[in-house]
Each structure stands twice: as structure tokens, then as C-alpha cells.
Subunit: 334 residues, 2 copies
């Protein structure tokens, strides 16, 4: 009976403050039936991303997730039935399936993926995280050899790759992360030059000690206080790549922004640039080729944090927003 | 007797809040005597700039003005005696003379100026204001024909030129200024498409009405609330040229920065870039050629606001910070 029934996770309430597991509900649904031009997809791995939380607020590059509807999310999925040309059963795709076991979607708009091992790399280093790290660092941050590069959420899916790619380009790399275990992973296994534990309570001082020559490139994943601390330690003509503001997703919008804006931007002649990966997708081929080479050479280590079972997706996202993951978090659905 | 005595304006106290006339003192001093390699300069016109106030805080691109010393300032000056090669009596130069009638300075580091009429244009459209407007708008803001360009402090020395240069490049131009008289000058004589009076108390609404298609380029001279209001109305891929933060010079540093940083920078993929003219000086020739052409063609109108007498420089600067000038404010010293 189980294969004839779909399971979904609904967002039952748009959270105005901290996201909780109670904002979601598991919901049995009929098996979707693909129409002409559509395929039936079975979700293999669901990607969990800080952006999922931002989507609930609506003020992003996509429509808000309405309460009562299937929670939005990207997945690595397999075609189980095709009523469209160009895709056949067994093909792998990257799709906006939402949080459910099965989805029927138009074939147009699905992104076919190669079959490689481990499959999970398609959601981490060869997925949104890897491409975001690659283009955000190299096109927006533009580090030169010898520059000091600082990245926040450094133990996360994007940050862990940003730091390693900056090292490959000859930069001195400082990661900001929460807790001694993550910091140890950064300077140990991942080869960062220094790590700053923002939970230690002395962010300004620790950052200054870790980046004594100031900051040339700051890759910002978090916004808020950490953004401000880095802003004050930027060097002349420094670049800030604005990738996300996870500190501000999970609560009410902040009453005020960081001090030093725009005063320090002028006196230090800084460039702050926001980006989303979408704008770089036409160039994903070149990035994937480089990323595969670095992984094959052992220069880029890929950290993944896999949660088992669709029913654990809500707790997985809540934990991600609290910073409990090391590397790319995803949910193994089937 | 008068020519044998120099008069200076000293900064007697570094203001921590609002700058007042009482922070300055007129001071008689001996006539400076040029050493070998120096020239004796007679100040003709002293430039008043919002940056003068920022220099008192120290946190800029030059050393702070110490209390008890001659107030720092740029001037258009004439050589009255030369003990250096390359400069002779009667030559005009742009110099960091400070607020005084005479200064003896090394010839090296002085910028020779052509003799043209009116001389005051050397401090306005062909001086720092004109070059700042030119490079800041065209290199940092990069407006395309049809873009909506918004400029703050629009009736000031830089802003009045930014708007007109944007019009020459085919943009729709909105100026933000204080009071109905300035706004009328913007949309009348200076040819702006719309003006917003920030003192009218409905900045967000008025800005939305004046820029119904959103903002593609914002040229920021002020920071603070106006910066924030513009940030929220930027279009995707918009550019903010950060030229100054005059709203934040004349008081204690603000407790917080603008909301929307960095969240909106990400979702709207904005670029914020700070600059100072110094970085573009090697290219001043090309800018001056264009500016002279536009002035000659009557396409660029130059507003100047001339205060008479060195003793009125303090009141002139205090008034400039309160926004009482229309166009480039300077002091006629001799």
C-alpha cells in the first residue's frame, strides 16, 4: 500500500518569530498522477537550506510559502514515470518538488543530473552550495593571493567550501563559526588558517587576532552583529560578498542595521555586492569542471550532514537555523 | 599694515556633537615666510565642504584636525612669492592651505590651475565637486538611458551636478533636498524630473511617487534615514554610489545603521560602492574635458553660493551642514 500513497510536510503556520517543529505537519496525500508533459518524481534527497526559512517571509526572490501548503524545497529526485519527451524512468533531476515523497511536475524546468557517486554530492559541492561558494567568492569577492578572506557560517554548506576555495587561490582564510568543535574542524580537516568562535563572547578581539592585517574579502552568510564586526575591520578597497542573512531570517526583521553603513563604505572605499546563484547559472559548467577537479585532487573536502526520513525534515531545518550542522545538511527521503 | 599680517581661523575645540561657530576663533598670526622650495600663497577662495566636518572626527582618509590648530581646508590660491622652480608670482593653484589668508607651502604637492572665468568654477564644476559627481555617477552608479537615478543633497555642490549629468545620460532624475525652495530649483532651473522634500515628513511615500518604477541608481551623499528609504525602493541589480554620509558627521556616531543591510542587498542583488575622488584623479583630464563641453553648451548649470570674508567661514560651514546652501559654497577671502 505504501507506494500508492504520498507523504507531504505542510507548513501549517507562517512563523513570525523563531521557527519550530510545531509549525509543520505530516500529511498523507494521494499519489500524484503526471499529466501529459509531466513526470512523476520520487524524491531521493531533500536539500535543507537557510533560504528555506527566508522563503516563509516572502521578501525574497521567490513567492512566500503560504501556510497550509506543502513546504517548498529543492530535491534530488528520480523519474519513476514519464509522460514527457527527453526524460525516462531512472533519470535523475534537480527539482523544486517541495517536502514530499512524490511529485508530478512538468518536465520543462527540471534540471537533469548525471549519475555519480556519492549521489549526495549533487546537492552539496556540485549543487547550489558549491556553485554559490564558487561564484560568490571568485566573482563577487575576487580574492587575490595573499588577501585575508573571512567567511561566516564557515562550517556550513557554503562557508566550508568558500574557505577551501579561497585557500586554493592563495588567500589567508579565517572562518567564523559557533562552538569549539566546528572551529577545530575548520582549522583541522578543512585547512583554514584560523577560526573564530562567535559564541565565545569576544568577537571583535578574536577577529582582530585572527586577521591581524585586516580583512580584504568578507563572504557574509549571516548579517547582523558578525557583519558589523567584519565591516569595521575591512581594509581599504575591500569587498563584501553578501550571500545571505541567516541571523535575520528566524525572527522579526531587525529594528536597525549594522553601524558603519554607509560611513565606512565611503572612507574605506568598500564594495558590498549581493548576489544569488541564479544570476550565474549560465556559467555553471565552468564552475562544475573546476569543483570536480579540486575534489578529485583531494584539495576540496566535502562535508555532508544527512538526516534520515522525511518526517525529520522540520527538525532538520530548525537545527540548521540554530547552526547544529557541519557541512551540507540534507534529508534522505527514499 | 594689513598685508604684513596673516589672519587664521583656528578650531579651538573638537566638537563631539553639533558644530557651532563658537568652536572656532579668529587668530592674528605673523605673515608666513616661504623657505627654499616653497611658495607664499594668498588665498582667493576657500572651499567649504561637508567633508571638513568629517575631518574633525578623524575617522576618514586624512588625519583629524587637532583642536588649537588652523582649520583644514582646500583653497584656490595665488602665488605671491616663489622660492621654487616651476611656479611664479601670479600663478593659480589648488592647495591645502587651511583657513587663513596666507600660507607658505612646498611647491611640490600644489596643483596648478588654469586662469579661466569665472575663477570660482575651479572650485565647483571643475573642482572636487564636479569631478566627484562625474566619476561617482558614471563609474560607480553606471546609469543607463531610461534608468531612474535618485540623488540626495541634490541641491548641494555635488548633487546638483550629479542630477544634471544623469539627465545628459538619458536617465530619469529625482533629487532629494530640504525645503520647497530647493526643490523648486531642482525641477525648474536644473531640469530634474522630480524633487522630494525630505523635510515634508512623508519621505517614503513621496519618494515612491517621484520614482514609481523604483530606483536603479542611488547617489548617496547623506546616509541615515534617506539612505534607508532609498535602499528599500531599489530595483533588482541596482547600484548605490556611497559618496558621503553628511547626516552622520555632525553629531555622535549613530547607534545603528540602516535597516535592510545586508538582507535587501542580497535579495535585490545590489551593489553598494564607496569611493573618494582621489582614486580617480589620474583620469581627471577626461572628466574636465566633458564638463567644460557641457558647461559651454549650456547643458550643465553651475550653482555657486559665495560667502564673503574669512571671518564668515565658520558660519558658512555650520550653515552648509544645516543645508542652507544651494550649489557649491565657498568663501571669498581676498
Amino acid at each position: 500500500m505504501s507506494v500508492t500513497t504520498n507523504r507531504q510536510v505542510l507548513l501549517t503556520e507562517s512563523p513570525s518569530g523563531k521557527l519550530e517543529v510545531g509549525h509543520f505537519r505530516l500529511h498523507p496525500a494521494p499519489m500524484p498522477v503526471p499529466a501529459e508533459g509531466e513526470v512523476l518524481l520520487r524524491v531521493r534527497y531533500l536539500s535543507l537550506d537557510a533560504a528555506n526559512r527566508a522563503w516563509m517571509q516572502g521578501a525574497t526572490y521567490r513567492a512566500a510559502v503560504e501556510s497550509g501548503s506543502v513546504m517548498a524545497g529543492h530535491a534530488l529526485a528520480e523519474v519513476v514515470e514519464s509522460r514527457a519527451q527527453g526524460l525516462t524512468a531512472g533519470d535523475l533531476v534537480f527539482a523544486d518538488t517541495g517536502w514530499q515523497e512524490y511529485a508530478a511536475l512538468p518536465a520543462k524546468g527540471l534540471q537533469p543530473l548525471p549519475r555519480l557517486e556519492p549521489l549526495t554530492h549533487l546537492l552539496s559541492v556540485y549543487g547550489i552550495a558549491g556553485l554559490t561558494a564558487y561564484f560568490g567568492l571568485l566573482e563577487i569577492g575576487r580574492p587575490k593571493a595573499g588577501d585575508t578572506v573571512v567567511v561566516s557560517a564557515a562550517a556550513g554548506s557554503v562557508g566550508s567550501l568558500v574557505g577551501q576555495i579561497a585557500k586554493i587561490h592563495g588567500a589567508r582564510v579565517v572562518g567564523i563559526a559557533g562552538g569549539p568543535a566546528k572551529c577545530a574542524a575548520l582549522t583541522g580537516e578543512l585547512g583554514f588558517d584560523a577560526a573564530v568562535d562567535y559564541k565565545a563572547g569576544s568577537l571583535y578581539k578574536d577577529l582582530k587576532a585572527a586577521a591581524p592585517a585586516g580583512i580584504d574579502v568578507y563572504f557574509d552568510n549571516v548579517g547582523g552583529d558578525i557583519f558589523e564586526a567584519c565591516l569595521f575591520q575591512m581594509n581599504l578597497h575591500g569587498r563584501i560578498a553578501c550571500c545571505g542573512a541567516v541571523s535575520q531570517y528566524d525572527g522579526k526583521p531587525p529594528a536597525h542595521g549594522p553601524r558603519g553603513v554607509p560611513g565606512l563604505i565611503v572612507t574605506k572605499r568598500l564594495t558590498l555586492q549581493g548576489f544569488i546563484l541564479h544570476d550565474f547559472m549560465p556559467r555553471s559548467g565552468e564552475a562544475l569542471a573546476e569543483l570536480q577537479k579540486w575534489v578529485a585532487e583531494g584539495r576540496l573536502k566535502v562535508k555532508e550532514d544527512i538526516v534520515d526520513g522525511l518526517e525529520n525534515a522540520p527538525a532538520g531545518l530548525v537545527g540548521l537555523l540554530a547552526g547544529e550542522n557541519l557541512g551540507k545538511r540534507m534529508v534522505r527521503v527514499s
